[in-house]
Structure formats: structure tokens, C-alpha cells
């Protein structure tokens, strides 16, 4: 199993996904996480990821078709069967305001699959929310600015209006506060 992907492997997997995806109309997916960061060039090329996190696919009923095509790609490329991962939708109920307008269109993959990647500022907001040790390393690579932390704070306020775990929000706020003290 070739379970960790770099930007080349992600690109190849998406191309194969597009080839094997059968759907009568165009379907959009948006990537977040390490895969998105590598594809838009904001994370270093030597960075790897174990999966491609997908936050949205439209229309939503195309999900089954995507899962089926992803399983075929996993078999061909020897990837983990969960390489195209939509679990992130359960972890992050909503994306930062305006994310849709900021996302980067990576283009058509095959006949009907259109792939987008979330913008750097949205990736940063999600990294602050996750706050694991390796996310801090990514935040360093993403060269966070004051504007980025403002967007991240706004995102946390947005999540606070939902039933999102308050403890996690507090931890994320603390991380942003701490980050802003960095020279």
C-alpha cells in the first residue's frame, strides 16, 4: 500500500478519479487540508498527506459515485481505501465565511469532475482549529499574517454560533493568541 501521497500522487489520483467517475452532470469537489495546500503551492512539495479531505461535493447525491470511483483508484494505485475522505465534514460543520469565493479551481478531471482547493486563508483557519503539533508546523510553513489570524478569529465566532465543541474553540482561540505573540 502506497498510503502517503505527495503532490504528484494526489494529482495522479485525482486524474484517475475523474476517469473512473461516472455521473450524468458536472460534479464539484473542494479539497482542504494538506492535499489542498500542496496543490495550490502553499505547503512545501516534500509535505505528504495520508488522504485528500473533501469538504463539499455538489450535487450532494454524487457522493456514492465518488466513493465507488475512489475505491477503484485505491485499488489501481495501491492507496488506502479511505484516501478520498469526506469525514472532515463531520468534524468541521461549516467552512469560514466566503470560502467558496476564495477557493481555487484546479480544473476538470475527466469529463464530469471539477476539483477545487480551499484558499490558504481558509486552510490556516482550519489549522488553528485543529491545533495539533503537526498543524503548528504547517502554520509556520504557511507564514501566517495578522490578516490570517483575523480571519481565523472570525471563523471561530462563526462556529461559536453553532453547537460546536466550546472547549475546542477555547483551545483554538488560545492558539491564535499565542501565535500572535510570535516575533
Amino acid at each position: 500500500m502506497n498510503s502517503h501521497m505527495n503532490s504528484t500522487t494526489v494529482q495522479q489520483a485525482l486524474e484517475l478519479l475523474g476517469e473512473h467517475f461516472r455521473w450524468p452532470e458536472p460534479v464539484e469537489i473542494t479539497l482542504v487540508g494538506g492535499a489542498a495546500g500542496m496543490l495550490i503551492g502553499t505547503l512545501p512539495p516534500e509535505r505528504t498527506t495520508s488522504d485528500c479531505d473533501v469538504v463539499r461535493h455538489l450535487p450532494e447525491d454524487a457522493g456514492f459515485g465518488l466513493i465507488t470511483a475512489a475505491a477503484t483508484v485505491a485499488e489501481i494505485m495501491g492507496l488506502d481505501e479511505r484516501w478520498l475522505n469526506s469525514d472532515v465534514t463531520n468534524v468541521v460543520p461549516t467552512m469560514p465565511d466566503g470560502w467558496r469565493d476564495r477557493r481555487h479551481r484546479l480544473g476538470y478531471f475527466g469529463e464530469h469532475l471539477i476539483v477545487f482547493a480551499a484558499d490558504r486563508v481558509d486552510l490556516i483557519a482550519l489549522k488553528f482549529l485543529a491545533g495539533r503539533d503537526q498543524d503548528l508546523d504547517d502554520l509556520e510553513a504557511l507564514a501566517v499574517t495578522g490578516e490570517d489570524t483575523e480571519t481565523a478569529r472570525h471563523y471561530l465566532e462563526q462556529l461559536a454560533a453553532t453547537d460546536y465543541d466550546a472547549e475546542k474553540l477555547t483551545a483554538a482561540r488560545e492558539l491564535i493568541d499565542a501565535w500572535e505573540t510570535k516575533p
Binding site: 500500500m1 509535505r47 505528504t48 488506502d80 495539533r132 503539533d133 508546523d137 501565535w179 505573540t181
Partner: protein, 242 residues
């Protein structure tokens, strides 16, 4: 493509851990690779979860007596504590004997240099630190092992056939003798030199050598009063090297 001048990540790629880099040209010296990993952990937060997962799966390949000896002679105080955290995260039972020889650092601080350099991040690291990391004095968050970041046994054994014997021996003193003979030229000079290097008892070393000679894994030659030792690579490893 194969990396001829191996970095730490090249070495782990060769061993079957998922780092996006070319694998090293040959199987690394596993115990020294672990020491170097512990040294590098403060600058690379991906090492701890990936290597702990590898050790959880293939930890029987580690020659524990040799790792203990190398940690004692080649690792700094900080590196020994980081190694302790790595082994405890991987499998504290399997590495109990090695862990006994390691000690935490004082004063306690964040494991990662980036966090240690900032008072606020440092405070946060302390608050979120796992119990194991507190015990070793190097705060880091609890580790989620990543089984999908490790290649399966068929791949690992195919590209690292020397690990097979080590795993068969469950990393005991025989594995340490083999690894020392492969990687430390001075170990080949005499039984006494080998004993010194591994910090093992004379009786333990003699038993290990006798077993390895009987199973034809090592060869002994007599040079005056000294007995020199040699451990040819297993046939599969020789084929790979060729």
C-alpha cells in the same frame, strides 16, 4: 530512484514508513536511525507519530541491547529523553528494558523547538501534553498512531531482508550481535570488543555467539589468541545489495 546519501527520512522510507522521499539505497542501521530520529524529533512533528506506529508494528526488529548501549554512548541527555518518549509511545512493554536505562529531562519543556521558543505556545504545550510526554519532560500532544502510514510486512521484508532474522529473534541479544557485526567494524575484532560495545555479560555474549555460529549466521576465525567474528548478510540481502 534510490537515495544514495541517505537522510533520516530516506532511511525511514526504506524501512517502510510513509515519508514522501526516495528510499535509502540500503537498509539503515536501525538502532542508530532511532537515535537520530530522537535527535530530530524537536524539529519535525511528523516523526513521532509515524515512527511510533512503525515501532508498534515492527518493533521486534530493534536489537534492544544495542539500542540501550548506543543510547548510553552516542545520545545526549535530551535525545535519551526523546527516545524514551518515542519508545513509550510505541510500545512500553516491548521496550521496557531499554526504557529502564533512559531518563527524563529537567526542567520540563515543550518537545518541539518551535513551541519552546515562545512562552505562550510553551504554556499551551504544557496544558495539552500527554501523560507520557510529561513523564519524559518533553511536552507533546497525545499521539494518534497512523497504521496507514506504514507499509505492509511483504514490502518491508522484501526491501529489508535483514530485518527478518532480527524479528525472528524478537530483538534479543543475538539480534544485537548481528547488528553490531554488520555496522560496527570494531565489534568484529574480538568477543571482548563485542561485549564492551553491547554492554552485555560475557556469558550472554558467548551464548548468543554460539547460537549464531550454530545456525551459520556468523563465522568465527582464530587469529592468535583472538577470535574474530564476521556476519555475512543473509542471501536475500546480498541479492538486494547487488
Amino acid at each position: 530512484m534510490i537515495a544514495t546519501e541517505a537522510t533520516l527520512e530516506n532511511q525511514w522510507a526504506r524501512l517502510g514508513a510513509a515519508f514522501s522521499t526516495e528510499p535509502a539505497a540500503r537498509t539503515p542501521d536501525l538502532e542508530r536511525c532511532l537515535i537520530r530520529t530522537a535527535e530530530a524529533m524537536p524539529d519535525n512533528p511528523r516523526l513521532l507519530p509515524v515512527v511510533a506506529t512503525w515501532l508498534d508494528r515492527y518493533g521486534d526488529a530493534v536489537a534492544r541491547d544495542r539500542l540501550t548501549a548506543l543510547a548510553d554512548t552516542e545520545a545526549s541527555v535530551d535525545t535519551r529523553a526523546a527516545l524514551g518518549l518515542l519508545l513509550e509511545t510505541a510500545d512500553p512493554g516491548r521496550f521496557r528494558a531499554v526504557l529502564k536505562g533512559l531518563a527524563p529531562v529537567t526542567p520540563t519543556r515543550p518537545l518541539y523547538r518551535q513551541q519552546a521558543a515562545n512562552a505562550a505556545l510553551s504554556k499551551r504545550a504544557e496544558r495539552l501534553a500527554s501523560d507520557a510526554s510529561r513523564r519524559w519532560g518533553l511536552w507533546s500532544q497525545p499521539v494518534d498512531k497512523k497504521p496507514d502510514a506504514i507499509r505492509p510486512p511483504a514490502w518491508v521484508m522484501r526491501f529489508n531482508p535483514t530485518l527478518r532474522d532480527r524479528i525472528d529473534m524478537r530483538g534479543d541479544l543475538r539480534a544485537a550481535v548481528l547488528a553490531a557485526l554488520w555496522h560496527d567494524p570494531e565489534a568484529r575484532e574480538s568477543k571482548a570488543a563485542l561485549q564492551r560495545l553491547l554492554g552485555a555479560s560475557r556469558r550472554g555474549i558467548s551464548n548468543a555467539i554460539e547460537n549464531l555460529e550454530t545456525t551459520q549466521r556468523i563465522e568465527l576465525t582464530h587469529d592468535g589468541r583472538e577470535t574474530r567474528l564476521c556476519a555475512p548478510l543473509p542471501p536475500a540481502a546480498r541479492r538486494k545489495a547487488a
